[in-house]
Structures are given as structure tokens and as C-alpha cells.
């Protein structure tokens, strides 16, 4: 029988609702903080043994139904001097400005990523989720030079030089595809595309300027036969586009009730989400109530429990442990 996480991705019957958490391998875990120390996240990702161990920590502690590779969406994008600043996010030394910058967008083999995947799958039976950044999200970091509120520079480039923009997001999709292929070849059983900031665009603009690149990425993944998850925050109005692009599973943020999301996605697409990450900071009774509401809206089939965004660093691991227990116990069939 398929592991519950993979069965749910495919809309098949499951013995219980599977659960994992975005950023489950991260700062909220004391064992993570001990092992990682204060060093750069990119340096940690370059060490397969360390990356594998960080990936496995939450699987051991929580008994979640999937592991997610300890990595970062900027890892496959070399040539721009990307660093991940603690508490800020990716910062880009040499931002993308003009056509000649396309030459820096090349597929580079990253053996340490595949090595980390191999080490993880040797150690655990739960499926490992590989991941990559979505085209708009990666482009926004490269163009803005870091996180942004308005994405003014990114959208200006998109609108004023649509040909160059199409080349940019097209190459980013190619790079993400190469990375995901390598992760699957090494043993990843599913992939998630983090189009985290795609919701900064109106649906008309996302369709016009980004959807072709996302679709190319998902089409390229199709022959691998692994579930393809797409996720982004504030993407309530993009859900149908994600479905159209070929996503097998769509991650939903906490703003959109799952029953509403299911109507927008249409049949044949599984859902993942969508408890407000801040709910883990609430007293247990409140957290349990909010989780039960999410479970009821998610339904029994084609559904994976998760948060609507990553675990907040201030989260108490004991709350997360009880949450996993609640999901497993109350959905056991």
C-alpha cells in the first residue's frame, strides 16, 4: 500500500489524513538550533550529512507523514551572489537588470543536493518531498535584490520588457526543473513548487506573464510520475490557474477556506493546508478547535493537513506534536 501522504496526493483512500509542515525542519526545533548554530543556511545546505540530519529531525520528533528536504529555493540559482540573511531572507549581490544577465542563468549540477536526498531516503520510510522556487518568486528575488513589499522593480521589468521577462522566468523554470529532476532521481517521492509570492500579481497578470513558465515546469515534471504540489500565499484568486497549469496538489494559505478552494480548483486536484501558522501560538484548546475546523473543511479524501505557511520560529514543538497526534487520531478510519 502507498504511504498515506502519496495516496492523498493522488486522491486515493487513506488510513488517516496525512500531515506535514512547511518549515518543519527549522528554527522552532531546539535540536535544529543546536545542530545549525549561527552559520549560513547555504553553507549548511552544502553539507549533505548535515542537511539530511536536519531533514530527519522533525520526522523523528513528530512522526509526520512526509519529510521535506532541508534546502532553500535560491540554491539552484548560482551566479548572482545570493546569500540568505537570517531573519530577512535571500539577498542578491548582483541583481538581474538586463538581457546580458540571462547568461548568468545556467543549470549547474549540485551534487550535494542529490547526496542529501540519498542520505535521507536511506534513513526513513516516509516519502521525501523535494522542492524548488516558482518562476515569479525566484524572479522577484533576483530583480529586487531581496525581499520586497510592492515588487515594484519586478513588475516594472515584467511590464516594460515582456520579452526579456519571458526569457527570465523561462530560464528560472528550466533551472527549477533540472533541480527537481535531480532530486527525484536521487529518491524524492514528490515535489513542491514554492510560488510563494505569486499572489502579488492579479490573476490576469499571472496568466499573461508567468503561467506559461509554471506550466512548462509542471509539464517537464509530468514524466517523472511524482505528485506535483504548488503553493503560494495570498493566491486565492490564482488557485484555478495552478490547477490549469497541471498541479496535482495545491497548497492553500489560511485565508481561503478549504471547501472554497476545492470549488475553485475543480475535481481531480488534491488540497494541502491550511491552518494559520500563528494558531500554533494559541492555547491548546483554541489550536485544537482551529485544527478541527480545517480538518472538517479539508474532508476525507484528496487532502493533506498542513499549515497555510511555514511554522513560525516562536512555535512550541510540544504544540506541534499534539497537533500531529490530533490529526492522526481524529481522522483514523
Amino acid at each position: 500500500m502507498a504511504p498515506p501522504f502519496l495516496a492523498a496526493c493522488r486522491g486515493e483512500a487513506v488510513p488517516w489524513t496525512p500531515v506535514w509542515f512547511m518549515r518543519q525542519a527549522g528554527r522552532h526545533l531546539p535540536e535544529y538550533r543546536r545542530l545549525r548554530g549561527e552559520g549560513s543556511i547555504l553553507e549548511a545546505i552544502h553539507q549533505p550529512e548535515l542537511a539530511a540530519e536536519l531533514t530527519l529531525q522533525p520526522v523523528r520528533r513528530y512522526g509526520v507523514d512526509a519529510a521535506v528536504l532541508f534546502s532553500d529555493i535560491v540554491v539552484p540559482v548560482t551566479g548572482f551572489g545570493v546569500e540568505v540573511a537570517p531573519g530577512t531572507g535571500p539577498v542578491v549581490e548582483k541583481p538581474f537588470r538586463r538581457a546580458t544577465d540571462l547568461d548568468r542563468l545556467v543549470v549547474e549540477p549540485q551534487p550535494y543536493v542529490a547526496d542529501a536526498v540519498r542520505l535521507v531516503v536511506k534513513e526513513t520510510d516516509v516519502p521525501l518531498i523535494g522542492f524548488a522556487g516558482g518562476p515569479f518568486t525566484l524572479a522577484s528575488y533576483l530583480v529586487e535584490g531581496g525581499p520586497s513589499q510592492s515588487y515594484g522593480a519586478t513588475k516594472s521589468l515584467m511590464w516594460s520588457e515582456p520579452g526579456l521577462w519571458a526569457d527570465l522566468v523561462g530560464r528560472l523554470a528550466t533551472i527549477a526543473l533540472a533541480s527537481l529532476r535531480a532530486q527525484v532521481a536521487a529518491g524524492a517521492a514528490a515535489v513542491q513548487v514554492f510560488e510563494s509570492w505569486g499572489g502579488a500579481l492579479s490573476p490576469a497578470d499571472y496568466r499573461r506573464y508567468v503561467l506559461p513558465a509554471l506550466q512548462a515546469l509542471l509539464d517537464g515534471l509530468a514524466p517523472l510520475g511524482v505528485p506535483r504540489i504548488v503553493f503560494g500565499v495570498c493566491t486565492g484568486e490564482l488557485l484555478q490557474l495552478f490547477s490549469e497549469a497541471g498541479a496535482d496538489v495545491v497548497g492553500v494559505d489560511w485565508r481561503v477556506p478549504l471547501d472554497v478552494a476545492r470549488r475553485r480548483l475543480g475535481p481531480g486536484v488534491a488540497l494541502q493546508g491550511n491552518l494559520d501558522p500563528a494558531a500554533c501560538l494559541a492555547p491548546w484548546e483554541v489550536l485544537a478547535r482551529e485544527a478541527r475546523e480545517v480538518l472538517a473543511a479539508g474532508g476525507p479524501a484528496g487532502y493533506i493537513f498542513n499549515l497555510g505557511h511555514g511554522i513560525l520560529p516562536a512555535t512550541d514543538p510540544d504544540q506541534v506534536a499534539r497537533l500531529v497526534e490530533l490529526v492522526h487520531q481524529e481522522t483514523a478510519r
Copy 2:
């Protein structure tokens, strides 16, 4: 005949689609930067002549169909040591922590606000929009102590002390109501409630924890007989709640197509919005295309053209001027 802006708010026939812009009185205008200099925004708001002049600048330059008072949503909340940090937003010296902090939430008369309103309405025939902050948005600044990404502290308080939270948002609604009453008494012809960050909550949580306070605010405004506009970003799933709470007009951010918003709002509610503010940074041809798409979705009745959030400081005023011209010319009946 009623001014087009007020007619559109009421769903009546208009000679053209009215247009104004959130943050039209602001940093993107050279005359604003000249007059304001580098001083504190709160100091400027305390000077009625200055506030009135800043309010009138965009009306003169653009020929927009409404003025919006130069002020800030934190103005009516005294007793917390609020300052508005340039480029950051409101910063709170003594955040809200516990029940005793409720004593600091009192209605204070602010004669300089009413004075500014009186000076504006003496100088212009276009309707003046007064405004106040929505209950969640104001509470988030007071609890977080400043702008936030996750609203973790605010939501923790909301979930762990629901009684205290209800008192907090209830008092903030009372304070906002008093401020709006004073603005209308002095001559404001419409009011906008900026529930800017309300979209950080799921609809279930907004309904449970904030809607009663918003409804009390809107109910309190009803006897004044002026249109009541409610706006917030990422509020696609809250639109129906805003309508339920009694909004006459709902401001929509650029993520939700206006025809979709109209379906969610139901009949009898006018729409305002929703061009992506970053589109003003695009070449004119692109800006014109995006504006025409918004106009088409907005339709001829019960609709006010605006951006989906405030004008970005980097915006060229000439682009805004052409945009106003386009809206007026292409919708003239």
C-alpha cells in the same frame, strides 16, 4: 445633481466613472515633498492649514473626483506613544499588553482634525473622504508595537484572551466612530475604514473576533447618512463579511477581479478599486491597458476607479494625471 463620487457610492447614474487614489496626498508629489520636508507626519497632521493644503494638492493637480483627508489611522489613538516612522509605518512606544492598558483607550477630542476638514471643504467642491482605522488593523499596531509580517502577538492575544480582545477592538471601534463623527460633522461627505491588515485573518476568525466591532462601527455611522467604504488588502475572502457588516462601498485590492468581487459582495454594494499600484510604474501603453481592463470589470454603475492599495512613492505624477484623463474620457456618458 450629486457629485459623481457620491452618486457612484449610492449606485446612482453618473456622468463619468469617478476616480480618486489612496495616498493621493503623499510623497509621490513634488509639491508634497516641498511642503512637508522631513518632519514627522503626526506634526504635520496637527497643523490644520498644512493638512488642508496637502489634502488639496492632488485635487488641484489631477482633477480627481474626491479629496481624502491628509491624516493617519493612528491619529485618534493617543496614550500609547505612537510615532509614524518614515518608510516603516506606525511604531508604538508602549504597546497594549493587558487589561489595565484598556484605560489608555479613550476618546480624545482632536480639534485640529475637524479644523483641517473645515478648511478643505471651504476650498473645494469635490467631496472630502474622512477616514479611520479598522479594529483589527489598529489593534495589530498597538499589540505588535509596529508593522508585522505574521501578526503573531496580535493573534496570540486574540486567541488566548478573547474577552480582553473583544474589549480592545470594541474600544478601538468606539474611538474610530468618534473620530469619523467629528470629521463628518465638520464637512466630510463620505468615510473610509482602513481595515488594511484584516486580510491576515481567515474568514472564520475575522467573523468570530473582529466582525462585531466592525459592525458596531458601521452601525454607529449609519445615522450620519454618508457612504461608508471599507478597504483592506488580501481581503478577497472577507468581502462578503464587509458587505454583511453594512459597508455601502467596498475597496478591493488588485488580487481580486472586480467582477468576482461583485459576485461575492452581492447586490447593493458599490465597488472601489483596483488597479495594481505598481502598474503606474509601467510604460503608459501597459498602464492604459491594465486600467481599461479594470474599468471593464468595474462596469458602469456602483463603481469608483482607484488603485488596489496606496500610490507608491516612486510613481511619476504625469502617469497619474494621464490615468485620471483616461478614466474620465473613456467613461463619459
